[in-house]
Amino acid sequence: MIKEINATTRSNGLPIGGKEGDTTVNAVASWQSGYPMRTTFNRRFPDYDPFLNDSKRILANDESDLLIWVSSFNTAVTPPQSSANTIVLGRSGMQFETEPEVYIPVGVPGIDHEGRTFRSDSVVSVPLRKLRDSGLPSVFEVLSAVEQAL
């Protein structure tokens, strides 16, 4: 409709969506792999399929035996119930209905460490600054340490 209105006058829609870092993950995934989220790397290359790679669907169908849940902004964003072994890199203070197999508390970008985030229309990105010294590692630090150890 917006496209049609623009034939004679000007009209814009403002997309609003994406929180808890969704927009940022989508943007970074797009530039690094060419595809947004719901991309699998199983076959050694990026494979985009929004239906097959829907993680809720995968978990509901028991198609995966391991879930790695990354949630560094909001303690309320916890992993869904599933039969998969679960590793959580979650904001410090996260409470679980079912305890995950592994929980690594992490800091919050823009509070505990630096970072960058995208506005919900993904047009503008802003720097996130470190505001306190909590000693909590960032997700990046945790993943880098795991990679180092392997």
Binding site: N6, W31, G34, P36, R44, P46, F118, P127
Partner: protein, 555 residues
């Protein structure tokens, strides 16, 4: 560690060296004198090979919001170009709009060691830098866009003095971490917000009463006066419009001797003659370029096949949207600053218009006399993906190949060109000027694009081959800052290039009105607009190289 490249045929136009056999010595990433004691740690025999500095793409859309929209829009294009990860390389995708990792690998494999993103949106310069930060091996940098931003247009409407505009330009270049200044459809992107559908050189923006000519005049002067080496980078008015050659000629005339770079000139060289009311203006444009020594151009050659056009010029992209192939597109207005439009496109050799566009680009290459003032681009990905450069080089260097291709194109278009009668074939020396020495000079890179003592050891080694496409698509070796990164056309080592910037001086008093402007109109704070040096360095992988300003600049 001292490395010696022995016996290569050196082509180094910055030092007037044309095919001279000479050894090159490399230490700590730089080209150095022959050691007095003659001791070297490693020697590579390159006798008979052609040696040039690493190539520089001075206009390529490799990072920033609209490139990422193009990536997201074209999963079907990616599916045809999928790259598995290896022990060394990360996976990726993309032909027209490749992922960042893939972009770096492909450039390096072709002997390119630097690429410059020409349309950095000031308020999202951060994203352009983040994407370039994730582009391995090559050096990078950006030209930041002004000219449809409300702050400039308000200043101009209020008749601010040139000094204030210089301050604003210098401030923006500094804090967007740019190496140059770009203007896209000057004032037109703003005019489109007020429902103007075209804006000629002397037509006023309905709201601000400012013309594109005024904007070009103010900004080109600003760039010159603050000492930024790269001239104002101009994507002119009326892109793609039949008859736009007159606008382009007027723009060249209107520069009044001030340095100006006209980008993707092919898209701005159209006449209205013939049955199709679409003809080549290349001869007149080339003549004007030859005459006006302050003007430089890059071509924006089109090549046939599927690609995607991504531009800040949403006024023209909206007009072109009905031609989208596949049929999907995005146009956006971006508050306070600019706009953007992404339209996938397929250039067809049996289309009269596309065939003639191909011819116009090549005519321009062949009729502009001075290779120091014309640059080899496809306006990646707008005319074609950058991976087609070796093919384009062959078209320029091999007349019979060119004419064979020409004879297969739309027959009416063939009648509308005298391309077949142009005998010129570019020499290796001229290719080296366009893609190395000239490009470095144009962007203002003091230590790149040449093979003199002290230069960064960005070096490409080719096996001479009369099939120039084969020669240029697969160099024997590529060195980046002295390290061998490519052998036999394969990436063998990952390095991370530097980000080239300039830091023109400005008077901080400009921050007072800017602070008010940001507080009143922008969605982010002025302090968040500024990109710190630390952000470019990031995790230590990135680095910043501050290039010298021209004399006349205040630093």
């Amino acid at each position: 560690m001292l490395l010696k490249l022995t016996g290569g045929r050196i082509i180094d136009p910055a030092h007037d060296v044309n095919d001279v056999v000479r050894d090159i010595y490399i230490r700590d990433g730089r080209i150095v004198e022959k050691p007095t004691d003659g001791r070297v740690d490693e020697e590579i025999d390159v006798s008979g090979k052609v040696i040039m500095a690493g190539a520089i793409d001075m206009h390529t859309h490799i990072g920033g919001g609209k490139v990422n929209i193009a990536r997201t829009m074209l999963p079907e294009d990616h599916a045809e170009a999928v790259y598995e990860r290896t022990e060394l390389l990360r996976s990726g995708t993309g032909h027209a709009a490749p992922s960042t990792l893939t972009t770096g690998y492909r450039y390096a494999e072709m002997g390119y060691t630097a690429g410059f993103e020409p349309a950095v949106l000031p308020i999202n310069a951060r994203q352009a830098h983040m994407e370039m930060h994730d582009t391995p091996i090559i050096d990078k940098g950006g030209y930041v866009m002004l000219g449809s931003d409300d702050f400039l247009l308000r200043m101009m409407a209020a008749n601010s003095d040139q000094e204030a505009i210089n301050n604003y330009v210098a401030w923006t270049i500094n804090h967007a971490q740019a190496v140059g200044l770009k203007v896209v459809n000057p004032g037109g992107i703003s005019a489109f917000k007020f429902n103007q559908r075209k804006l000629d050189l002397d037509e006023k923006n309905d709201f601000y009463g400012v013309t594109p000519r005024d904007i070009l005049h103010r900004l080109s002067r600003a760039v010159q006066e603050i000492g930024v080496p790269h001239p104002l980078h101009v994507h002119g008015c009326n892109l793609g419009v039949p008859g736009n050659m007159q606008t382009t000629l007027d723009t060249i005339q209107g520069a009044e001797g001030v340095p100006m770079h006209l980008t993707h000139i092919q898209f701005h060289s159209y006449g209205t003659e013939g049955d199709f009311k679409f003809s080549s203006g290349a001869a007149e444009i080339a003549e004007a370029i030859n005459k006006h020594k302050n003007i430089t151009v890059d071509v924006g050659q089109i090549l046939f096949g599927q690609t995607v056009t991504a531009s800040g010029d949403n006024m023209r992209q909206f007009a072109g949207a009905p031609h989208a192939h596949p049929n999907k597109w995005v146009c956006m207005d971006i508050e306070c600053e600019a706009g953007c439009g992404v339209v996938p496109f397929k250039y067809k050799d049996q289309s009269y218009v596309n065939a003639l566009q191909w011819m116009i680009g090549l005519e321009t290459f062949l009729m502009v006399d001075d290779p120091w003032r014309i640059f080899l681009t496809t306006d990646h990905p707008n005319g074609a993906p950058f991976t087609s450069y070796p093919h384009l080089i062959k078209l320029l260097m091999d007349k019979s190949f060119r004419n064979d291709m020409l004879s297969t194109l739309h027959p009416e278009a063939q009648k509308a060109t005298h391309l077949a009668s142009l005998d010129r074939e570019y020499s290796l020396y001229e290719i080296a000027i366009m893609t190395r020495a000239g490009a470095a000079k144009l962007v203002g890179l003091a230590d790149r694009g040449h093979l003199g003592i002290g230069a960064a050891a960005d070096i490409t080694v080719y096996t001479d081959n009369s099939d120039r496409e084969k020669m240029f698509e697969k160099p024997d070796y590529v060195f980046k800052d002295g390290e061998m990164v490519v052998r036999q056309g394969q990436v063998i080592k990952i390095t991370w290039g530097t980000t080239h910037v300039v830091k023109p001086e400005y008077d901080v008093s400009i921050e007072k009105p800017l602070q008010q402007y940001f507080d009143k109109f922008h969605t982010l704070k002025m302090s968040n607009f500024k990109i710190s040096n630390d952000e470019i360095v990031d995790d230590g992988r990135g680095s910043l190289t501050i290039q010298p300003l021209h004399k006349g600049g205040r630093l």
